[in-house]
């Protein structure tokens, strides 16, 4: 009956908001419409983008993961300390960090699935645990000086207009493709939708519900650790305080992107749009020299607007 399937309306609305937001800012602020700014959107929030991707999968499965910000903080200081103070090879350290993040995710997944504890509670515990462990590793920032970091830091993909994308946004964009393919083209990804849509039915349909649910938290743990590593690449240092409360930003990005917190409905590409809206708002506050308080209020109001919009669409 319509040109656009009804399912895609929220996605389209989000895209429209992004375009309008960007267009208005471009007209109002000189220099906003430049490749530098566009590159900045991806570069400066890459780690947020990465965890928002994982969060999308978790939320589609009907869950939530509050531990991601802390895992980033932990990974960043863990990596920095091991490289700088113990002289361990970065590749080995990354492998270790990814293993720890993945393991933590798996443990949380098992607690949620096998012991029927609420995801909210378990991942909240994970959040406190990982943050505390980060400070346990080292209570202060640690600089990373290593040839590998120098080499990776020099990677830059020119995107025209003098702007370029560094290693962090490249990791993010790669993960975007991977997660999007996972959500749309893998059985695991489709099972997430089914579980989020109706978990009891998913069990009766013979889907591997327990495995899938544990796996999604495991994968998210992996992505959080990857985001932490990305952060060390981006800052050439690690700091246990990094990424505090970033999980809430990630949830906001996912919701703005049209994924329903009830599970079963959402798109990874929507999360990309939500991510860009979020980054654009922050970019506007810097251009306009707005107070930071206004930026947070704006994010809140936008969140509210999108949710109400989604509600009214779903009700129809």
């Amino acid at each position: 009956m319509n040109l656009i399937p009804r399912k895609l309306i929220p996605l389209m609305t989000t895209a429209l908001v992004l375009v309008v937001l960007f267009a208005v800012a471009s007209l109002k602020y000189e220099g906003f419409l430049s490749m530098y700014v566009i590159a900045d959107l991806f570069s400066e929030n890459a780690f947020l983008g990465i965890i928002a991707l994982g969060m999308t999968l978790v939320i589609i499965s009907g869950g939530i993961d509050l531990s991601v910000g802390s895992v980033i903080g932990f990974t960043s200081i863990f990596v920095a300390t091991l490289i700088s103070e113990h002289g361990i090879n970065p590749w080995l350290v990354w492998l270790l960090a990814l293993a720890i993040g993945t393991g933590l995710g798996a443990i949380m997944g098992i607690m949620i699935q096998s012991y029927r504890l609420p995801a909210f509670l378990v991942t909240l515990g994970g959040m406190f645990f990982a943050r505390g462990m980060a400070f346990f590793v080292k209570p202060e920032a640690v600089q990373i000086d290593h040839a590998v970091y120098d080499w990776l830091g020099d990677i830059a993909l020119p995107i025209g207009g003098g702007a370029e994308l560094g290693i962090a946004p490249l990791i993010f964009l790669t993960m975007f493709v991977v997660v999007m393919l996972t959500s749309h083209y893998s059985r695991f990804g489709r099972n997430l939708y089914a579980i989020g849509g109706d978990e009891d039915s998913a069990v009766l349909m013979g889907l591997p519900v327990a495995r899938t649910k544990i796996l999604v938290y495991t994968f998210n743990g992996f992505l959080s650790a990857l985001a932490g590593i990305t952060m060390t690449l981006y800052m050439d240092s690690g700091n246990p305080i990094n990424a505090t409360s970033l999980e809430l930003d990630a949830i906001a990005v996912v919701v703005i992107g049209g994924t329903l917190l009830t599970g079963g409905v959402g798109y990874v590409s929507g999360t990309m749009l939500g991510f860009l809206i979020y980054a654009t708002i922050y970019q506007i506050t810097y251009f306009a020299s707005f107070r930071s308080s206004l930026a947070t209020i704006a994010i809140g109001v936008l969140l509210l607007g999108f949710i109400i919009l989604q509600k009214s669409l779903v009700r129809k």
Partner: protein, 335 residues
Amino acid sequence: MASRIAWPILGLAALLIFNAVFIPSFFQIESRDGHLYGSLIDVLNRGSIGAILAIGMTLVIATGGVDLSVGSVMAIAGAIAALMLTETDMAMAVIFPCVALVAVIAGLFNGLLIAYLKIQPIIATLILMVSGRGIAKFITGEKIITIGDEFRNPVFDFVGKGHLFGIPFPITIFIVLFFATALIVRRTSIGLFIEAVGANETASRASGINDRAVKIAVYTFAALCAAIAGLIDTSNINAADTINAGVFTELDAIFAVVVGGTALTGGRFSLTGSLIGAILLQTLMTTLYTYGVPSDVAPVPKALVILGVCLMQSPEFRDSVRSWFRIHQKLEERR
């Protein structure tokens, strides 16, 4: 019910015994200048904010919801009180109602989003959590409002720093609030309605309970509790520090409630359990500080204790522990 609060009581008892053995001074209470003084008093005094938030949070969680915005509401309440104290010469009799009014508005905002727009509580209150802190910062002009000596108000000072019968006033506040809430909730049918709505919302509505009113009421109550906590915090440090006031307190309050045996899914609740949960958490923190565990690392043992208590409450976990033991017994026997 009793079995559910058994675990936190056990945890608290274990912690207290540990302290009694290793920190003999822990149980010492003496009177200095007519004020009671000692670690236990500190635990209660420091824990008062957590306890007050937990009381409000209990009712919210009992309806199957959650309120992430209480920390931000604390910041807003403190900001308004500090602003009115320093910028106007209004009496506390005007300032307190104003703060209460703002809290009611915040609570209504949450409640309306949840009851009428049917937005999930996590997201609905996340909105106020994120933008509420922005609002608080906006009110204070993004700085800390210090209540200098020239603006000091004895009534306001008493809220966070006063002593009543030698006991720090915040302790009195949370104890009175606890009993008042328990009385109101259990002596009227409000408690029954809250539990009914939390246990089964549609069935409650079909039985003629105004589930929307119940929800709006609990979120408003939680916001009022947060405002009281915010006033105590502001009075305590003589300043409205909107960046730090109440950060993560919502999570502590949720922990206290869950550890206290009220399920996040709603239904049956235990105010006593939540109070024990809040005191357990504060005792743990004070113990850790006393042992010189850096405050940054303290979340690790905190997370372990909380998840431990929650795991013990999970029947699936108890079953698996039991079967694990059984397997080991069998292996032993075979040997």
